[in-house]
Symmetry: C2
Subunit: 332 residues, 2 copies
Amino acid sequence: MAAKKIKVILYGLGPIGAACARVLAMRPANYQFVGAVDLDPNKVGKDVAEVIGLAEKTGVKVSDKVGRVLARDAQLVVHATGSYVKQVKPQLIQIIQAGKNIVSTCEELSNPWAQNASDADELNKLAKQYRVTVVGTGINPGYAMDTLPVALTAVCQQVKRVRVKRVVDASQRRMQLQKKIGTGMTEQAFREAAAKQEIRHVGLSESVSLVARGLGWQLDQIQERIEPVLATRRVETEYFTVEPGFVSGVRQWGRGLIQGEDKIILELEMAVDAPEAYDEAWIEGTPDLHSLIKGIHGDISTAAVVGNTARRVVEAKPGLLTMVDLPVVSAR
Amino acid sequence: MAAKKIKVILYGLGPIGAACARVLAMRPANYQFVGAVDLDPNKVGKDVAEVIGLAEKTGVKVSDKVGRVLARDAQLVVHATGSYVKQVKPQLIQIIQAGKNIVSTCEELSNPWAQNASDADELNKLAKQYRVTVVGTGINPGYAMDTLPVALTAVCQQVKRVRVKRVVDASQRRMQLQKKIGTGMTEQAFREAAAKQEIRHVGLSESVSLVARGLGWQLDQIQERIEPVLATRRVETEYFTVEPGFVSGVRQWGRGLIQGEDKIILELEMAVDAPEAYDEAWIEGTPDLHSLIKGIHGDISTAAVVGNTARRVVEAKPGLLTMVDLPVVSAR
């Protein structure tokens, strides 16, 4: 890495994109910003440092001229504009055709074969054609509930079932996230919004499918279920006050089945009154494993995973890949 | 993998080599034995199945004619003959020159740059020349105290220090291992044997160095220390009886320093009276992480890691690599 800095274009400077950019900025020996794209008129024309919150100017200004920025010499685009493959696909195609590798925070892109197989095949083909690598990642989906449990199975001769539980304390998180999980709603309003998929964590099906990919399993079916978490006491966050009986967050399950049998069970709880945050996994196999990890933060760790994956994406073979296809990602 | 089986030559059919072979035999769709080498006259001429303990014959007989077996068509040699690079190097060279990829249980080979840098450079160059991949691995060194903590740092923006503690319950392990850790010795005899390096876990320096490699850290110094664990009660295993005050096992530390500061601290306890087996890691950084894993078995997991790494070795680019250079290893 010391030999040559990786030239980076930032694409999308919302809270997550900005956080990813700050991680790369912490490694000035390895990464150099050469361009930044955002459509927000409040950001266009400003130095990247001002937009993402760095002390020193970068000399790179935010632009809304996507094509012009993508024409610059760069090895990597850090892409953070949306959660859904169909929504970001035109952007990805433009970046690929500009010959740039992509690391993206798009949740569904963490394993697009789960729910967007034909788009995934198309992007994979295009990435190979232009000899670039495309990877979607983040803490979840992308790591905590999929890549990490898959990596744990390295010590197993056989695996029968993978169960993962992630509990996120949403009380200190961004307002947008607290809103996304239904904080403060009535149960009735939550269920209506959830039925319209307005309230949910995006990526559980992708994580289930990524675990299966890592283990070489062919799933017959992936199921998702969502329930509200109801506050049992009054909870106050910076943005919301939740009375007892109102929604404090969301509990979601993703299941992967083979011949009717639960092979992968992922449970995610994100609530402003979560008693404690942790990541727990049970691998049933030879041997049985249990892991309990404390400290994996949502926003901090998503930015970390994206920043840490960056160099692996640049080094990897061309194509649309997933985290279980890349060499071990680590903090560097 | 379904497309074509990987043809495998087994080199070394002691307890560990046999256990690794049994893991591959559990995956008949992916691996096929085409040869087996062992110098033990009690094994030569017998079917591999008989030697490693499989119900069905493989049709492959154990041979002591190394060159003849290595001349066969195969993509991979599973090598399990010794712990030290200098001891196994001539074997590795012969295998490389026969054009075969290698996954080896040699402890020092898990990161040969730690203590055998010139041998490592030589093997790396030769492997590239013959376009084969060479990887040393196992549960420890190779995974529990190095690759896994490195993988955990993926969720960190910065890492200041890595601490790992592994406690192994040796009471159910092979006699050879109980002997290796000094079980039943007097403290005096232990200290004399330890000074001559007759008693020790091999690989702690390699693990320290592998963590550093995974994090891109340049260590100034690696230190190892060894102490006996003394029994506080009478302990009986299948092979030994340990009276209170006698040695029940070993406690070892490996430290990696940068400018006099402890950056990596690995502690390993292997004893026949270990209260509980576990793997614990503390990552000091942003964020701080703590992980506690139960269930990683020594012999079962070494065979698992070797068996699970096999396909990654065949797929990888040529050269002498380590576990932190390979794509995520998983049970498949």
